[in-house]
Subunit: 200 residues, 2 copies
């Protein structure tokens, strides 16, 4: 089966519906997904941004939240914006990276549902521990692994890879032939591209 | 028939495929389209931008041009980026506003095809005159009308309306119940919304 990388940031609103949709869309095309958590902060710093563009530009923020409401309504996903927005996603990203395969996917979806579906604070260790337990992982062992230097360095390397791939934001799909598709609204197009590339 | 407003900016890349797609999509839903040319400059000035964000943020610019290439390829639309980008769109917007109904739609599509399909300079009066003639309008009379004070003021008023509607960019659809849908990739969703709203 061909493989597509799904790059996501836990603070990113549009990554929430994308994370909830990606698995069924990939399965329908016989594609496997690599879950690649990263941080937008370093990329945004390149743009001179020290905050979410949805806060820097209120017109874009108002539009985004209305757009998210329509998207979540159409998918029957709950939406309860977290306070503050954006959330500090460093801990969640480190934890996700410390997990593998199915465990990483399950934890990531649980984080998004808690953060944007229930307005939870994802920088909170107890909240993260509860989500780990709920998705079948060992909270203490995983938190310890997440905060080891090697895992922190691995997240930095992932952010460097994201920059070198030219990702303009999150979420992004990256196909085996290095095509980048940005946005929840590009999932189908990116997966179709990967399927067609496999046949070439 | 219900009506949807299509707000577009001649300098906007994604407005090009949107302008080429909107009529067939609207007709398939029995919706009429109001072609509303405007200028992004005043909105971007609110953001502190004096240039296209695709120039200010080169990562976004590189992504946009690759994305446009894929979109245009999929629609069999030619793509030849104009130099410089963005083009000065003031004259084209004034001319479009001086035309009505079908003439405005035909001229607007001709401008986009020349600008992004052939790399033409849309601030050039002779180029605009040729496009007016090619789409059945009287070039001299239309150019004279376009540059009258009343028409210039009308364009300013349209830009003020765009700001008051909270448009975050271009293109946008605005439905009769004031929902805003931003982007070429939101045309279907916006038109479906307008169709459903008509039934409510």
């Amino acid at each position: 089966m061909a493989h597509v990388d799904f790059w996501y940031e836990f603070a990113s609103t549009y990554s929430y519906p994308a994370a909830m949709r990606i698995e069924a869309l990939a399965a329908a095309r016989s594609l496997t997904i690599g879950w690649r958590p990263f941080l937008l902060g370093p990329l945004f710093a390149d743009f001179g941004w020290r905050d979410s563009p949805f806060n820097i530009y209120p017109v874009k923020g108002r539009y985004m939240w209305r757009d998210m409401r329509r998207i979540c309504d159409s998918l029957d996903l709950p939406l309860s914006p977290p306070e503050p927005f954006p959330q500090n996603s460093l801990l969640a990203a480190r934890i996700a990276l410390a997990l593998d395969g199915e465990a990483r996917a399950a934890f990531s979806k649980a984080v998004y549902r808690a953060e944007f579906g229930e307005g939870a604070t994802i920088s909170d260790r107890a909240t993260m521990a509860a989500l780990l337990a709920a998705t079948g992982a060992d909270p203490e062992a995983t938190l310890a692994l997440a905060e080891q230097g090697a895992n922190k360095d691995r997240l930095k390397a992932e952010c460097a890879t994201a920059r070198s791939l030219g990702l303009p934001g999150a979420p992004c799909l990256v196909t085996p032939d290095s095509e980048v598709f940005w946005g929840n609204d590009r999932l189908e197009q990116g997966l179709d591209w990967a399927r067609a590339a496999r046949r070439r």
